[in-house]
């Protein structure tokens, strides 16, 4: 179980707890203002903060200090966890409102306005509707529509994750590839922790694997290796984030997810 499950999970996975999506929680601790500030300043704030961080990247002591401080802050304010599609569908079933919203990460890193993200529970037009850049792109979805879009993202290899706005309140569901800022910061650049891996890890059943290698290009984390000797694919569990998107590329159903808890020494 990840740290958040222990702290906010009431014995379940923390993102399966209804309370963490509740209006009551949202109404506390200035969350609406936090969300507004977050969305309004995302590109500029992150561009400037990350350029500063990048400048000290090679000074390991400074970086270690910043990592320690920022880890505490990020975990309290805005932190994520990778969630496989089955759990995402259960999360969708728990929501009173689902609104498709623009992806600010891709805006910053690619200059494109795309809509890969979902606001959960909250009515973003209330606080974000006054920003013309966002207002026109909101789309209220029913559960079936949302699930259909999320499945199609899964097939494209986009990794799902939930995000807090002042933890433990969960307000966002993202669908990421390598243009996601959290991915850049944590996975590619190894600068700061931004999210937990999923509560799962993938495994390949060699009796079913045909050795077609399709899963390898589906994985955003470079976690699948191919053995020429055996002509089978293998998961490098130290790299695997447990997102499960590799499964949709596998025609023989050889890949399944196991509980991360059942393994010793795996990173979260």
């Amino acid at each position: 179980m990840c740290e958040f499950c222990t702290e906010h999970g009431e014995g379940k996975k923390w993102y399966m707890v209804m309370k963490n999506y509740s209006q009551e929680l949202y109404a506390q601790k200035g969350r609406a203002e936090f969300l507004e500030h977050f969305m309004a300043n995302f590109e500029e704030g992150n561009a400037k903060a990350l350029a500063k961080l990048d400048a000290v990247r090679k000074r390991s002591l400074v970086l270690r200090f910043i990592r320690l401080m920022s880890n505490r802050k990020e975990k309290a304010t805005h932190f994520g966890q990778v969630v496989p599609i089955e759990d995402v569908e259960q999360i969708i079933d728990m929501q009173s409102s689902i609104v498709r919203i623009p992806c600010v990460c891709r805006s910053l890193l690619t200059g494109r306005q795309t809509r890969y993200c979902f606001g959960l529970g909250i009515d973003p037009s209330g606080i974000l509707g006054k920003y013309p850049d966002y207002a026109h792109s909101f789309e209220v979805l029913d559960k079936q529509e949302a699930k259909k879009i999320l499945r199609s993202f899964d097939e494209k290899g986009l990794v799902h994750s939930v995000w807090t706005f002042k933890t433990p309140y969960i307000g966002g569901l993202c669908n990421c590839d390598q243009d996601c800022l959290a991915y850049r910061i944590q996975v590619k650049e190894k600068l700061l922790p931004t999210m937990f891996r999923a509560e799962y890890v993938a495994a390949v059943d060699w009796d079913l694997c045909s050795g077609c290698k399709k899963c390898i290009s589906q994985c955003q984390f470079g976690a699948i290796l191919y053995s020429n000797t055996h002509q089978k694919s293998n998961i490098n569990v130290m790299q695997c984030y447990g997102c499960g998107v590799c499964r949709s590329a596998c025609a023989t159903g050889a890949i399944s997810l196991k509980s991360r808890n059942d393994f010793a020494n795996l990173p979260w």
């Binding site: 500029e44 910053l108 850049d133 850049r184």
Partner: protein
């Protein structure tokens, strides 16, 4: 590597985005210079190096930028 962007020469990067797309190390990002304010659409986007330390000096961006807005000094 010292990366300089001439914002005036660049103009509106969202009409072009070649540096964002073509940099192999994905060094650049873009943001609305005057921020986002209620009632006003964000315009005036600028390109900025975010992960400048990754720049290998390959000069792909310089060669793709038809506005000659990027200069890179080793």
């Amino acid at each position: 590597m010292k990366i300089d962007i001439n914002a005036q020469a660049c103009g509106n990067p969202l009409d072009c985005r070649l540096c964002l797309d073509r940099c192999p190390e994905k060094v650049f990002g873009t943001y609305p210079r005057k921020g986002r304010k209620p009632g006003v659409a964000a315009d005036d986007w600028v390109i900025t190096p975010i992960f400048g330390s990754l720049c290998t000096g390959c000069l792909e961006c310089v060669s793709f930028c038809s506005h000659k807005a990027i200069s890179i000094q080793k």
